[in-house]
């Protein structure tokens, strides 16, 4: 069943909890990162696990695939490190991991999902800026939240 990891930039306060947790789990290489823009905004940048993923389409060795939750995953064994995925990614996500000699990126916490845990960033975000779930349920949650705030 398709799952979505959605970030509501309006709710983000730039506290870097997502990045810190991701860094803790992945030992010094966070897959979600907060960038301070020149106007002083904090923007979390991470993989959107696109429905029609340009990285997946362009990969010459077909190293990128979608798993059972529709998370876009790089098979690091097949990856030749050609950077084509990064070249076409609208968010500049894939990153060359020197330790494994291949491109790597957010896998929507694949290990955690196997244990029925949500991605760590979404579980720990203090501001409820990171949503995870099946598309309809997730959109419902967001709309309900906004209704609550408008009331």
């Amino acid at each position: 069943m398709k799952k979505v990891l959605f970030i509501d930039y309006n709710r983000c306060i730039g506290c870097e909890t997502c990045q810190s947790i991701c860094e803790f789990i992945h030992r010094d290489k966070p897959f979600i990162k907060i960038f301070q823009t020149s106007t002083g905004l904090s923007i979390p940048i991470t993989c959107h696990h696109c429905e029609n993923a340009p990285c997946l389409n362009i990969c010459p060795t077909k190293a990128i695939y979608k798993d059972e939750d529709d998370a876009v995953i790089i098979n690091t064994e097949k990856c030749i490190g050609c950077y084509m995925c990064l070249a076409v990614c609208p968010f500049g996500i894939p990153s060359f991991d020197i330790r494994i000699g291949a491109m790597n990126k957010c896998d929507m916490c694949a290990d955690r999902r196997k244990r029925s845990l949500a991605p760590a960033c979404s579980e720990m975000c203090p501001c409820v800026a990171i949503f995870f779930g099946e598309p309809q349920a997730l959109e419902q949650t967001i709309k309900a939240k906004i209704a609550e705030e408008l009331a």
């Binding site: 306060i13 870097e16 909890t17 579980e123």
Partner: protein, 350 residues
């Protein structure tokens, strides 16, 4: 917030007991890690509820109160974490003044006897206050203690009568970081009629960023950049006005940083009821006397690779180790400390 994000259910007990002093981001994330490794955790905090600055400092419009409460409720209900609120750990020293919420005092030595490990995560609560003429007048306030009181009232722990009355008042905020912005927004919502914000550099250097300052300006905050307080003018012991020295920026130094240089004889005076200082937090080590926990020159607790202090079995994490920092950094530090505690207690089997 799922502080116990590493697991879903309570694992087999390890029969180890850990005491955590301070229920802020570092203390709570450490708790989450430790309960996922089967340890029994007791958290001690002088406030009536867990959350630390996430609950008692940062305004509701940034971090929802419910989010922090849900997070602790899981620790308590699923993992059996015991929260000892309104409890202050004392280090042989006399209680501080102003611990208004504290009902119980526990000796640090007793904690060491009763627990297998102790984690100090007490944070940085003291605002830096200026040493200028008039700095001790009534109406000169530290930003964090104002935000703290407002949050206490919102949470229902104190009555709104205890909050500095801001309705129809003029406020001058010194500083341009996130705390300064939060104070400005709270002053707005509590009905201050005029809000000034003074910063010694320009909007481009403001730590809170151009966007946030611009947002405030659009909401009517009067932005005074390149100005530094020189003295506070009083009347009958109360604040009456503030004098600001006008500055210009130096050429960038080798790190690209530009410093404010006073322009001779250029001063501005603003009439005001309150002056709120939001220029940063100071470290507040929880002990006044030597308890064999070594500090560095800045007053931060020194820890080793396992986050253990110079005293065996006593660990430290969060702002008290890394200095005033973001919520995320404190959370991460708490996790690393918890990892260290687990390794120290369980060795290779961890």
């Amino acid at each position: 917030m799922r502080f116990a994000f590493l697991c879903r259910d309570k694992p087999e007990p390890s029969n180890r007991k850990i005491a955590i002093i301070g229920a802020g981001p570092a203390g709570l994330s450490a708790t989450g890690y430790l309960v996922c490794h089967g340890h029994e955790v007791h958290i001690f905090d002088k406030l009536p509820e867990p959350g630390g600055l996430m609950l008692f400092g940062i305004p509701e419009f940034r971090i929802p109160i419910s989010r922090v409460r849900e997070g602790f409720a899981e620790l308590r209900d699923i993992f059996g974490v015991k929260f000892h609120g309104r409890t202050k750990i004392v280090f042989g020293n006399k209680p501080d003044e102003g611990d208004s919420f504290v009902d119980e005092f526990i000796e640090f030595d007793k904690l060491i006897k009763d627990f297998d490990a102790v984690l100090i995560a007490t944070g940085t609560w003291k605002s830096i206050m200026p040493k200028i003429e008039g700095g001790d007048l009534k109406g000169v306030l530290p930003a964090l203690s104002l935000l703290f009181k407002i949050k206490c009232a919102r949470l229902g722990y104190i009555s709104w009568d205890n909050i500095t009355p801001l309705k129809e008042k003029t406020v001058v905020i010194i500083g341009a970081g996130h705390t300064a912005v939060d104070v400005a927004i709270e002053c707005m919502s509590l009905g201050a009629s005029k809000i000034y914000m003074c910063y010694r550099r320009t909007i481009l250097e403001a730590p809170a960023g151009y966007h946030e300052i611009n947002f405030l300006k659009n909401r009517g905050v009067i932005w005074y950049e390149l100005s530094m307080p020189t003295r506070i003018i009083g009347e009958n012991g109360n604040v009456k006005a503030i004098e600001l020295q006008q500055c210009k920026l130096s050429k960038p130094d080798k790190n690209g940083r530009r410093y404010p240089i006073p322009i001779e004889n250029q001063f501005v005076t603003i009439d005001t009821n309150y002056i709120i200082y939001a220029i940063g937090q100071k470290l507040t080590p929880p002990f006044q006397q030597d308890i064999d926990v070594k500090l560095d020159d800045w007053g931060r607790i020194i820890v080793d690779d396992l986050h253990m202090t110079s005293r065996e079995g006593i660990f430290a994490a969060g702002d008290i180790v890394i200095g005033p920092s973001k919520v995320g950094r404190a959370i991460q530090d708490g996790l690393y400390a918890a990892e260290g505690i687990n390794y120290w207690l369980m060795g290779e089997q961890s």
